[in-house]
Symmetry: C2
Subunit: 148 residues, 2 copies
């Protein structure tokens, strides 16, 4: 192996690899529970539904997903009783998506599990440093451009 063919491996893993590993831990923590067929993507969609309802098109923008894909998840979550849709009185093409009480309970359970993971992380690195971590992540996420 020539020197030109060497690449730093474990000494300086980039942020994508690190976040991937962190994600994996969340995935495994969620996998412990029984979610009755609902998967991570369902959580992402239902979490983006605001308390006062939203159209599918607008929801798809929030979760950075096509409205086709988003509509599928909404349909499944409606079948499972976590969402319901009502006609939009001001536009008969549109349907307003709302959470049911069951959907709200689901979100709370998901959020509690993730909060558990965050607690263990905060314990591992210390509350102060974890708070900086979270704040940096928030700043980075908020400074994103909307979907082009």
């Amino acid at each position: 192996m020539t020197l030109v063919n060497k690449v730093s491996q474990t000494d300086d893993p980039h942020v994508a690899r690190l976040m991937g590993a962190a994600f994996d831990e969340i995935r495994r923590a969620l996998a412990v529970d029984d979610w009755q067929g609902l998967r991570t993507s369902h959580f992402r969609v239902i979490e983006a539904v605001p308390d006062d309802g939203i159209s599918i098109t607008e929801l798809s923008g929030r979760v950075r997903m096509t409205k086709q894909g988003c509509g599928q998840f909404v349909a499944q979550l409606t079948d499972s009783g976590h969402l319901r849709t009502v006609p939009d009185p001001s536009d008969r093409r549109s349907r307003i998506v709302r959470r049911t009480a069951k959907g709200t309970r689901l979100i709370r359970r998901v959020q509690a599990r993730i909060a558990d993971v965050e607690s263990t992380w905060a314990e591992r690195v210390g509350a102060e440093r974890y708070s900086v971590f979270r704040d940096v992540l928030l700043t980075v996420a908020e400074s994103q451009q909307p979907v082009a």
Copy 2:
């Protein structure tokens, strides 16, 4: 909407959502370049190949992927000239996967792009806070259990 049906939305997004948004930014930064058909998963696999080579089974463990899936990416990266495999002299069932010089150049390009993203993040939040962020992420990633 009853109070029992309310869920905090934007005020306290959990870490999975935040990391998802950050990931998206990396994905978009990489999408600017032409990678000749290689995708993020190829990067993940080739980056995990150490300088001195590795078997497919061990590689699949590193990238937390089945050996079947890993073998597919190795095959594609071999076809594209980024990896090559040599027989393992000590075990005729096994093949040793190595990076070619082309593969090494690819990794360097990927890592440079991600480093660019990290630079902009560090600028947004300040170098010191970004360094804490990175360190927390490293600690969390390193304290993971290996695949069960």
